[in-house]
Symmetry: C3
Subunit: 141 residues, 3 copies
């Protein structure tokens, strides 16, 4: 069983956003998988996907702070500056976190830990809508 | 052919730990795969999985040092501090390294390079036992 | 349908290199997949694979600069120094970026965004040729 679908996430401000519910709603066939994988892929180089704590908004705020300190916009060494000061740092942040998540599916559900949620990591000031490709495969239940 | 299994890794101290042998022992069906994939997923947001040098303990020690410097516990900007000073840095470290490994399987073995070993990256002082979901799929040999 | 193949990438200087074309040329069967996944895996611990901007060489130069600043060779805390000053930083950089890419395949093509290209990230001064294992699976079209 294979399912592949484009998902468009509405524009969000720069920062880390919990999108687990939105992604699951777009993938009703997940409930038919007895065992399998769900692969989420973002088709951009300045936004990324990650998995982290799904309860406290201050965790997501601290993610933004740490990444902004670690990959500073005003560093003197950037040479790719024509697309704005947030562009090159966004590419680095996106590469550190990665463009995809591969998640196990068990008995019709993502086999996540209870604290794990899917983050859309928006690294640009005005990133706009973000397009994902979701792919499910495995054995139907 | 699909195999999915929970694996519990015993509690380990904060740091980077080589667990290749322990993981392989839990997956005897890997030997039946002619070609396929092995997916290892950790169900936590303050520990992670990585692949790195499998020989020198000083490499794993230097990993711990670098991550502690890069994501400092005593930074003034953390706001999520209620779960202890090691908690928020652990979430960042875990996101940088990621919650999963996807490894090719060839002729009944992981097709790793000779220096590659599976690391359990324990980012908390007292993380306790860590639960993995291992999923194998592919063509039987 | 499963295809698995070793790909050897010729030696490249330290830095970030666009290898999308080279990888695709080695995988003609990708055109036969209606829906599936392509998994690229590097069998080394001091080089990595990433996905980022495929147009501007200055982006790739800035990647090298940022990683060199973030993981400095001359840091006083390294203990694993017997293989040269570029070795231990290479392990850290490789772990941050990761050893594999999982890419969706749709209608015989990688379903990448228009700006996404495959990077070989060479973290050593003289890394030599780098070996990949490429695995394709899915439904034939």
């Amino acid at each position: 069983m294979w399912v592949q679908r484009d998902i468009t996430l509405r524009p969000r401000p720069r920062g880390f956003h919990l999108v687990t519910g939105e992604v699951l709603e777009a993938l009703p066939e997940l409930g038919d998988l007895r065992v399998g994988l769900a692969h989420l892929f973002i088709r951009h180089t300045s936004a990324s996907l990650s998995l982290s704590e799904n309860a406290s908004p201050d965790v997501r705020r601290d993610f933004e702070t740490w990444f902004d300190v670690a990959v500073p916009e005003d560093a003197p060494y950037w040479t790719h500056t024509t697309e704005g000061p947030d562009d090159m740092p966004a590419h680095i942040k996106a590469a550190l976190l990665g463009p995809s998540l591969s998640l196990p599916v068990s008995a019709g559900r993502l086999a996540l830990g209870i604290w794990q949620g899917i983050y859309l990591c928006e690294h640009r000031d005005d990133g706009g809508a973000r397009r994902l490709v979701a792919t499910l495969w495995g054995e139907a239940g």
